[in-house]
């Protein structure tokens, strides 16, 4: 580290298999309030309601049933919540484990984010961690068919042949599917940001 950053960063470790009662207690049926969960929007939230769902696949193509997904997104107007102000009932932050549905699926009830700025495409920021992952990964989900994707400055930094790994696709009306592949031919793009 440089002279003005003298302290060494604390190393990352795996979240392990037993995070659920600490980080996602309500979703897993433990008697402790969660700070955030998969239900992100309520009746007062403005915007287009969507289900954002998917599966995390390991290198053998098997669904991972002990992953933790955190998502962070702008509201329907493209504004990120701040501690000072936010849309009624919408923080833009959601958390879900993949161990409840039985099939390894994560499923957020949220709203479709707006574009955060004139140059960016609407997207959902994702933090992924799990047993066997020694450091969390960052990725993003963009929305298939969105015209702004062509000009988005982050997508532009991704090799063209891998951009499709960052696209959520509509699997039913109002349902956007985003699968994450840790390895293999369609390995999802993960960012160093």
């Amino acid at each position: 580290m440089s002279n003005d950053h003298p302290l060494g960063q604390t190393p990352s470790q795996t979240v392990g298999p037993f995070f659920a009662y600490g980080l996602t207690p309500e979703q897993y049926g433990y008697n402790w309030p969660s700070i955030a969960g998969p239900e992100m929007a309520d009746e007062a939230t403005a915007g287009e309601r969507i289900i954002f769902e998917g599966c995390v696949f390991d290198g053998a193509g098997q669904p991972v049933t002990d992953a933790l997904i955190e998502i962070w997104q702008a509201d329907g107007a493209g504004t990120y919540a701040t501690a000072q102000g936010r849309n009624t009932g919408f923080t833009g932050f959601g958390r879900a484990g993949t161990g409840v549905a039985g099939d390894g699926v994560f499923r957020f009830a949220t709203i479709k984010p707006g574009a955060p700025s004139a140059t960016e495409a609407p997207h959902i920021n994702i933090i992924l961690t799990m047993r066997g992952l020694l450091m969390h990964t960052f990725t993003r989900a963009y929305f298939d068919g969105e015209a702004r994707n062509a000009r988005d400055p982050v997508l532009a930094q991704v090799p063209a042949d891998r951009r499709s790994t960052l696209l959520a696709r509509q699997s039913a009306p109002g349902v956007w599917r985003f699968d994450i592949h840790m390895q293999g031919e369609s390995e999802t793009v993960f960012f160093d940001l």
Binding site: L7, G16, F18, W72, G99, S117, L134, M182, D192
Partner: protein
């Protein structure tokens, strides 16, 4: 204006694939991370209002009809950035096994007793000096299936957000002098130069007389560089 973070110091972090930690083989990404520069996002608003004062005392927040079993300890420290600046009002979450080495998680099948008076989850917000403080029970070691006769050292899981999205950290705190550290692939997956940053220090100053031993564990996140960036639009 939002400031850009100092880079993640990959020389201090474990590699994604580690042959001694079996589960990484199919779960760690194999392609290089794609660097994204110039992106700056505040940390998520995660609902500070859901954190209550009692959440930081794990000897009380799972109590049903008595005190939890085991050695009561105090775990405290500061959340700092790599320039040494404290990060105030940031969320610190912990979870851990009980004194017998058993998690309350339904998936944990280790045949050690559940403690009916111990839950094992805690959280708090740092104060204006970046300090956090938990009262808990020293977690026990427990076996796992990574290799023959594999045991995890005593540890407490930590989750920290910081003030920017890119500061996110999930880690584990270990105890000084634990003989299992030299045998643990998860601990040893971190480069030698930075491993000891995950080991708490015993502190007589943090120790409360006639009550509990104190351990200090400071957490250092990426810092904000002096170079400002224009935020989105």
């Amino acid at each position: 204006m939002v400031k850009v973070l100092t880079p993640r110091d990959f020389g201090s972090h474990p590699a994604y694939i580690d042959k001694n930690y079996r589960s990484t083989a199919l779960r760690g990404p194999t392609r290089p991370l794609i660097p994204i520069r110039g992106i700056s996002l505040a940390a998520p608003v995660y609902g500070h209002d859901r954190v209550s004062a009692g959440d930081a005392d794990l000897t009380a927040n799972g109590r049903k009809d008595g005190d939890p079993q085991g050695e009561r300890i105090i775990v405290t420290g500061r959340v700092l950035d790599d320039a040494g600046r404290p990060l105030a009002n940031t969320l610190v979450e912990i979870w851990q096994a009980n004194a017998a080495g058993r998690y309350i998680h339904v998936v944990d099948q280790h045949p050690a007793p559940i403690d009916p008076n111990f839950f094992g989850g805690g959280r708090c917000l740092t104060d204006d000096q970046g300090r956090y403080r938990f009262v808990t029970i020293k977690p026990g070691a427990y076996p796992w299936g990574n290799h023959a006769n594999a045991w995890r050292p005593n540890h407490i899981h930590f989750s920290v957000f910081g003030h920017q999205f890119g500061q996110r950290l999930v880690t584990q705190m270990y105890f000084p002098g634990d003989p299992l550290l030299a045998l643990d692939p998860i601990y040893l997956g971190v480069p030698a130069k930075s491993r000891e940053r995950m080991v708490a220090q015993f502190s007589i100053d943090a120790t409360k007389e006639n009550y509990a031993l104190g351990y200090v564990f400071d957490i250092v996140l990426r810092g904000e560089s002096a170079t400002p960036w224009e935020n989105h639009a």
